[in-house]
Amino acid sequence: MTRFMSEQLLQRKLDIAKQRIELLEKMIEEKTRQLYLEHVETVAAKERMSTILDTMQSSVIVVGTDGLIQGVNQALVRQLGEDEATLVGSPLDRILRHRPKGDSSGSVGQVDAEPLTPNTGSYLITRSASRIPVLVSDAPLIDADDNLFGQVFVCQDMTDYKALEGQLLQSQKLESVGQLAAGIAHEINTPIQFVGDNTHFLGESFGELAAILNKAADFSMAEEQAARQALGENLAESIKASDLKFLMEEIPKAIEQTLDGVSRVAKIVRAMKEFAHPGSSQKQGTDLNRLIESTVTVSTNEWKYVADLRLELDQTLQLVPCLPGELSQVILNMVVNSAHSIEDKFDKGKRGKGLIRISTRLEGLNAVIEISDNGNGIPPEVLNRIYDPFFTTKGVGRGTGQGLSIAHSVVVDKHRGSIDCRSTVGEGATFVIHLPINQQMT
């Protein structure tokens, strides 16, 4: 009986075991299937990710905490003309020079939360050692345990933007020239008027004098007494009739003023030429004093009715490397701003004239230009917005708010200088520009 019982029992146990095996096999199959699907899903997701990273236009660089590149996308490969293989493992600053706002080291670990303004001067270095201007945004990479394990940099190509920016600067310059044109025409036409009038006068005066001289010549050559007498009387009458005294006084004055008028026109034309010249994109050693003088000449009509302008220029200041076309635009914008502020305060000249002072000096390793006025001044709450693009407190038609923003961009970004403003409301404003005299000729 036991043996039979055992057999049945064994058979049942076997069946259960078989069932369990089947169940397990099913489960394994199921799991395997699931794993397979997840795997496929993961691969697909990874590929999508890869495609996204490699299709996007911006370059992506992942950098480890050691400052070495761990991964890059295809955009970067394309931009630099280098293989991924040679990029991975290289130090970041071989290919990217990046200066976050307020920091010149650009080292990893510096997290810059603020969006960078376009003119940071960051650039990628390609295999052929040329540079691509880029807008860089970067973020720290932090794992689940809150440990920093790297940094990711996204670089956007700014080449086109830079070109547009260059055009914008030039068109702002031409816009200024246009706005100044009416005033400049007046400054030229007035001297030309009196040059013409004086020359006309000189012509007529010469006619009169010639007639008298001829009579004098005849008189002096006459030999016969009676003839001498007649000619002498005639001569005396002519002299009386012509008001010789007036001619002798006025002719030299007319000549002097004519020459003055001609040189006035020449000066303005020369200043115009210097001002309107687009200049090169390379910095050149520039006489800042002369640049300021010609900008002041060109803008004369904007300020002369409302203010006096005093120049206190250091004549020993050496040539400073800068972009003269752009710097003169900055000076012009500031002079015009000062003139407008004075015009408002002094009610268009009805309550007297204001004063604009421009000075230059050397301070350590910087050339310093100071422009101050005694206009309305800038209230403190406005002071930290004055460099914002298109910010203006002027009425319609009196400026587009680009002047100071361009000034900032030119001085700070292009010249690595600084621009500060001090102001007291009701008393005026002073702008101080520092330009390093040791620019790398970039």
Binding site: A182, N189, Q193, F194, D197, F201, K350
Partner: protein, 404 residues
């Protein structure tokens, strides 16, 4: 008697140059040169100058403001701007108070001629009050209806120069405003002799906007007067077109034709001046109470000492309009002698004035006679040809207004 001329410019060298250059004129003019607007006002308070020449760009008080003061202090002064260049906004402010605008550099002979011409007709208007009145006029009046049409044309979503020109050309007030703008160097080189349509082309939409912005509707509240203004404009245009045709018939000289057109167009503008300055007499003109031109001229002489022809000529001389047109208006009142081979602008104008305003019935087809005051010296044949040309104009205008 010498004229008193005042020159104002803040540039002392410019004044010195002018003084030297104009010295020979000392026999004709008593000249004063001041370098500040304030000093100029002081001078004007002391003496009423015949001509004042000012620069636009001056500190404190600019030329436009100064001229407004001059207009107030001494309405009969001729106000001339001599300017290097000013922005459009300032120029638009000068368009009203200034009679003429000269651009620097202005050559000697032009300056002398303009000042001379400005004072030439001074003595033709004996009444100082009348002279002052005419000199204060910035423009001729237009009817309210015309200004509405102008406003519509200027504010249309698709502004068109053609539409604006059409309104301008149909109205004497607007035509006068554009002519004044073009006869001076306000916006362009001076043109001596231009038809209103061409003046519109020269100025273009933006400038027209500024120029016509200053034209005022007649202040009169009498709607019949506004109606009369419109009728006058319509008659004037027809008469002018006839005059141009007649001139074309006589000579291919375009200047002659244009002069005939413009002189005839504005032949009656003196009436616009007189009715604006003396609104109590508007009724007389509106009701056509004069039986003939001769009667009208006699009445005007006895009331004001001058005829509408003299008044119109004076106004246009202040604005620097071509001497040919000025004379063409001034002398149209006398129907002198002419011959078929020598017909002057004033003769054509004179005939048109009489025919169109007093004898339009002669333009009807079935009439074969000539109006009674024909011109001695001109052949009947020529006059009949003129009559035919006028009839043609009338017919084609009737047809085109039917077509509208």
């Amino acid at each position: 008697m010498k004229e008193n001329v005042l020159f104002v410019d803040d540039d002392p060298m410019l004044l010195a140059g002018l003084k030297r250059m104009l010295r020979p004129m000392q026999k004709e003019w008593e000249m004063t040169f001041v370098d500040s607007p304030r000093e100029a006002i002081r001078q004007m308070e002391r003496l009423c100058f015949d001509v004042v020449v000012v620069d636009m760009r001056m500190p404190e008080i600019d030329g436009a403001q100064l001229l407004e003061e001059v207009r107030r202090l001494c309405p009969k002064s001729v106000r001339i701007v001599l300017s290097g260049q000013a922005d459009l906004e300032t120029i638009f402010r000068a368009v009203g108070p200034a009679h003429q605008y000269l651009a620097k550099p202005c050559d000697t002979d032009t300056l002398k001629a303009i000042i001379r011409r400005a004072v030439e007709l001074r003595d033709s208007i004996r009444s100082v009050a009348l002279r002052e009145g005419v000199s204060t006029l910035c423009s001729l009046p237009s009817s309210a209806a015309v200004l509405r049409r102008l406003s519509a044309a200027l504010q249309a979503p698709e502004v068109s120069l053609e539409a604006i020109t059409e309104v301008v050309v149909s109205d004497l007030g607007l035509s006068a405003a554009v002519l004044k703008a073009v006869h001076s160097a306000f916006f362009c080189d001076r043109r001596e002799l231009v038809k209103p349509a061409d003046a519109c082309q020269i100025l273009g939409v933006e400038l027209l906007r500024g120029v016509l912005g200053g034209v005022e509707a007649s202040q009169s509240e009498d709607s019949r007067f506004h109606g009369w203004l419109d009728r006058r404009s319509a008659q004037a245009v027809l008469a002018a077109r006839s005059a141009e045709q007649i001139a074309a018939n006589l000579s291919s000289d375009r200047t002659f034709q244009t002069a005939a057109y413009v002189a005839t167009l504005f032949g009656r503008c003196g009436e616009h001046c007189l009715t604006t300055l003396f609104p109590e007499e508007q009724g007389r003109y509106v009701d056509s109470s004069f039986a003939s031109l001769a009667e009208q001229l006699t009445w005007e002489r006895s009331s004001w000492g001058s005829t509408h022809c003299q008044v119109g000529a004076y106004l246009f001389s202040l604005w620097g309009v071509s001497g040919r047109v000025v004379d063409g208006i001034r002398f149209s009142e006398m129907l002198g002698n002419g011959t078929d081979t020598s017909v002057s602008v004033e003769l054509i104008n004179g005939v048109m004035q009489r025919w169109w305003y007093h004898y339009p019935q002669f333009f009807a087809d079935d009439v074969s006679e000539l109006p009674t005051d024909t011109v001695s010296g001109l052949s009947e044949q020529l006059l009949k040809k003129w009559l035919a040309l006028c009839s043609e104009q009338l017919k084609s205008s009737v047809e085109s207004s039917k077509a509208l």
